[in-house]
Symmetry: none
Subunit: 155 residues, 2 copies
Amino acid sequence: MFLSTTTNGIDAKGRLSVPADFRAVVRGDPLDGIYVWPSFDGAYLEGGGQALMDRYLGAIEDMDPYDDARIAMERSIFGAAKPLSFDANGRITLPKVFAEHAGLEGRATFVGLGARFEIWNPDVYAKHEAAARAYARENKRALKLPPRRAGESAR
Amino acid sequence: MFLSTTTNGIDAKGRLSVPADFRAVVRGDPLDGIYVWPSFDGAYLEGGGQALMDRYLGAIEDMDPYDDARIAMERSIFGAAKPLSFDANGRITLPKVFAEHAGLEGRATFVGLGARFEIWNPDVYAKHEAAARAYARENKRALKLPPRRAGESAR
DNA sequence: TTGTTTCCCATGAAATCCCATGTTATCCCA
DNA sequence: TGGGATAACATGGGATTTCATGGGAAACAA
């Protein structure tokens, strides 16, 4: 699982250290790196490992070949995603278009969201995070811990 | 189940012994440690084991991808949670931001709440506990047990 | 060439591991 | 049931490794 929020520096060559915890999640994948694409929903990047791409692929293959949603999903995810491999020290090199899409300059914030993660401009993310926490506080009764499902143990 | 309340010391390196009872609850998890995040609702930390995270993950994946509640939950729980592994003696190292969020200095109080637990500043918790007990006393008629579910025994 | 990308090595800071110790709780046996 | 032996637990400090980051050399492209 991708968890927690980490901000790392982007150097003059466009290199960016991927948090060690995130690298551990994709260890063993055929790609020694991560898949990243610009979000169609805002000025940030989305990404994940092989497991995430396999799930998206499975979801798409279950849709009708000429379903508009299928075409949109294929284009905006598979059409936009790049495999970014780690260098010997666990860094990726951000393509310029990705950095521009997310407004990344000098620093980037990785946000772990379980099955996937996002990469944000740190200042922009701080605002979004504050909004999310405020929403959660105001709606905490709706966000209560869900009931256990079949097969899950309470311990 | 996480049960009971224990206060342990935090040393100069930020290390904190997790109560042995709590460690026993997560024994066998893929992570030899616990998941902890700053509560979005107050100056304390929340945490649990793999079973708890799996429940949150399952609940989130049942929601619509761009639902506000989903985004709020993803960011305030997964985006904030860190896997903290035990050292050889059953201690975790508290990240500085966590200690600051909960006002932890020198000592920390673990409070078991069944499926999850909380970590508090001992003095702050003492006040909260007193308030909670008073509330329970005044509202004791509302504290009835729900009906047993199928398969559950009364014993 | 000139600019770009990839690989390799250096470094300081931070996190992790390893061993030691006192104290408390548990066990066992007389 | 008392009391000594044993194991479990919380805590402390030093040594080691990992991590993020910087820069240079080599391979590549235009």
